[in-house]
């Protein structure tokens, strides 16, 4: 099963597998009625998009440890538009994405010009500075943030009924649709000329430049698209969760996002974050890890991952399949099975 796994052309098999896999999340609310578990699934979807945002910036070799900054810009822009200017959610969402895009374009132009090494530092600094700004400036909510942010307005379908977003289940379907659209858009980008240019830049930016690829343009483009995706789910998060606080978007949030995509595997820009976000959301819940020691465990987990599984879970599985020991074991098992059959 390696659908959506690599940057290659679309084929029919992939599409069929994709649709088959998609049935599970669609049917999920019919099986699970507990609102808390639905909430966890919604947070997983948000985590997947944020992880994909990190992976997309990594595609042309940029390491963005400030994804939470653009996530917060989307959330705050949409909240401010709804609360101060009386926009509806459906009007605020595109404007919020646009604002995130403009801010990421301006910052991206400056950060990427300063070199890949400095880019890593600057994104984290931008995240910390933004949290300070959100906390210090009273117009932006201050340290206490916003409460009672309204849920998205109901969609009225003529001659039928209205879809309202007061329940967790309907919000789940909304984020699922957003996730699906973002996955399709990202998949299209990765399998197009642009995706191949990113691949070339990541492997060697100097070589790509000599072959006529505009490195600066493609890096800025990837950064802006990735940040817009983060802003989209940020806007959804604000209206779904109802409260906003600057502390939610601090440096730790960005590091968790990075863990999502690294745990799954960075060579798999769409499947990796999906696996990573599911594991990272549900394992702490199942093990009942308190939020106090969670950063310690996740920090150590990040280091251990880097040391032992630098290609992530999916990447390591792929590598294991290529290893000679795997072939040998498979041969022995087959021999053992056939022997057994003979004796019987």
């Amino acid at each position: 099963m390696n659908f959506l796994s690599d940057r290659r052309m679309i084929n029919l098999n992939d599409i069929i597998t994709f649709i088959l896999v998609l049935i599970f999340p669609i049917l999920l609310p019919l099986v699970i009625k507990n609102p808390y578990i639905i909430h966890l699934f919604i947070m997983t979807c948000i985590g997947i998009v944020l992880g994909m945002s990190f992976s997309m910036a990594y595609a042309p070799g940029l390491i963005n440890i400030g994804v939470a900054a653009y996530y917060s810009i989307g959330a705050y822009a949409s909240t401010l538009l709804v609360k101060k200017l009386d926009f509806s959610f459906w009007a605020a969402l595109p404007v919020a994405i646009l604002i995130t895009g403009i801010i990421s374009l301006v910052t991206g132009l400056a950060f990427i010009k300063a070199g890949t090494f400095t880019f890593v530092i600057l994104t984290l600094l931008f995240n910390l500075a933004l949290v300070q700004a959100l906390g210090q400036v009273e117009v932006l909510g201050g340290w206490s943030g916003f409460v009672n942010i309204p849920r998205p307005e109901p969609i009225v379908i003529p001659y039928y009924s209205a879809i309202d977003f007061s329940t967790h289940t309907s919000c789940y379907y909304l984020i699922l649709v957003m996730l699906l659209l973002i996955v399709l858009a990202f998949y299209g980008l990765y399998s197009s000329r642009i995706g191949r240019a990113w691949n070339a830049i990541r492997q060697s930016s100097h070589l790509a430049e000599t072959l006529g690829v505009d490195v600066y343009f493609f890096r800025v483009f990837a950064f802006v698209v990735a940040s817009c995706a983060a802003g989209t789910v940020g806007s959804f998060y604000a209206h779904y969760f109802g409260t906003l606080e600057p502390v939610t978007f601090g440096g730790f949030a960005s590091i968790y996002i990075q863990l999502y995509s690294v745990l799954g595997g960075l060579d798999f820009p769409i499947l990796g974050p999906i696996i990573g976000a599911i594991i990272m959301t549900f394992v702490p819940e199942v093990l009942r890890i308190t939020s106090e020691i969670q950063p310690i465990i996740f920090g150590v987990l990040l280091i251990v991952l880097i040391l032992f599984l630098p290609r992530g879970i999916i990447g390591s599985l792929h590598e294991a399949r290529k290893m000679p020991i795997y072939d040998k074991m498979a041969k022995e098992i087959r021999a053992w099975l056939s022997n057994k059959r003979k004796t019987v």
């Binding site: 990594y58 070799g61 940029l62 390491i63 440890i65 910052t107 132009l109 400056a110 950060f111 010009k113 300063a114 070199g115 890949t116 090494f117 400095t118 890593v120 530092i121 600057l122 984290l124 600094l125 931008f126 910390l128 500075a129 300070q132 700004a133 210090q136 400036v137 990541r202 492997q203 060697s204 440096g251 730790f252 590091i255 990075q258 690294v262 960075l266 106090e292 020691i293 950063p295 310690i296 465990i297 996740f298 920090g299 150590v300 987990l301 990040l302 280091i303 880097i306 040391l307 630098p310």
Partner: protein
């Protein structure tokens, strides 16, 4: 605003700025020799401050003794961090590994270290602010200008450390070896320099500088678990502003940012922190390599 206030602000700015410069030099030593962006530097700063607080305030040791203990513990701690984390990360590097993958591995390892260290500090020392009684409570008055001695002492100590570092890098064998490895690791290994030992030494020197910086500001501003975040922010900013490939740039950047911040707090208040960041980003758009002009690739 009168003259005496301006002079006081300048002295505070220089004191804070010289600490930023020390931190930035520490980060730069590590980046230039080992190629690791050490995000955990702020936590080393906090650990330095807490070690000084424990040895000077809790154990009632003398100032010189607690200074020596702090620096020794931080040098050891840095060496341990290198041996148990970054050494393994560097062993995974092959000559075919691309720069972005190297950068990713080292940045993530240091970010993981930062996260676990900062939470460990928070859980073991509690979130409350701890004060250290001023070591030099005197105030010098020159022609109506009142200057607190402790801030002057910070400046003097940072200058002394700066001179010591200069002598270390130009006169001693280890310092020369560190500079050689940061220029060209392969060539210096061929010439018989044990590069693993140099990496270890430069990492622990960087951490020792961070601990010293934390210890200097601990009696002035108090000790709390969050103190490292702000300082490391400013130190990274100073390093980028000055140019990531020059120690002189780091010193100039640290002092400029210290002065900007202390004037900003007086004139604008808390948002000056953000405004300094914005100003430096605007500067970077026109001069991506910082003051020294060399890009770190």
């Amino acid at each position: 605003m009168n003259l005496s206030l301006i002079i006081q602000i300048i002295v505070t700015g220089l004191a804070v700025g010289s600490v930023y410069a020390l931190m930035a030099i520490g980060i730069q030593v590590i980046i230039r020799t080992t190629g690791i962006v050490n995000f955990a530097h702020g936590q080393f700063y906090t650990i330095g401050a807490y070690t000084f607080w424990a040895s000077y305030f809790l154990l009632k040791l003398s100032f010189v003794l607690s200074l020596a203990i702090t620096i020794l513990i931080l040098l050891l701690f840095g060496a341990l961090c290198y041996l148990f984390v970054f050494n393994f990360v560097q062993q995974r590097f092959k000559s075919s590994t691309s720069l972005s993958f190297k950068l990713l591995l080292s940045a993530m390892a240091s970010v993981g270290l930062m996260m676990s260290l900062s939470q460990t500090i928070l859980l073991s020392f509690g979130s409350e602010e701890r004060g250290i009684p001023p070591i030099w409570p005197q105030i010098i008055t020159i022609a109506n200008v009142r200057l607190p001695v402790e801030r002057l002492v910070v400046i003097v100590f940072c200058c002394l450390i700066g001179i010591a570092l200069y002598l270390f890098f130009t006169k001693t064998k280890l310092g020369k070896a560190i500079r050689a490895v940061s220029e060209d690791p392969v060539m210096s290994t061929l010439l018989g320099i044990n590069s693993t030992r140099i990496y270890l030494a430069s990492f622990s020197i960087g951490c020792g500088l961070a601990g010293f910086a934390g210890m200097m500001l601990a009696p002035v501003f108090g000790v709390n678990p969050e103190m490292g975040t702000n300082v490391v922010f400013m130190a990274f900013l100073a390093m980028i502003f000055g140019g990531a490939l020059s120690y002189k740039g780091a010193i100039v950047g640290g002092l400029v940012i210290g002065l900007m911040l202390s004037f900003g707090y007086q004139l604008i208040g808390g948002t000056s922190y953000v405004l300094v960041f914005v100003a430096i980003i605007v500067f970077l758009i026109y001069r991506p390599g910082g003051l020294s002009g060399e890009l770190l690739e």
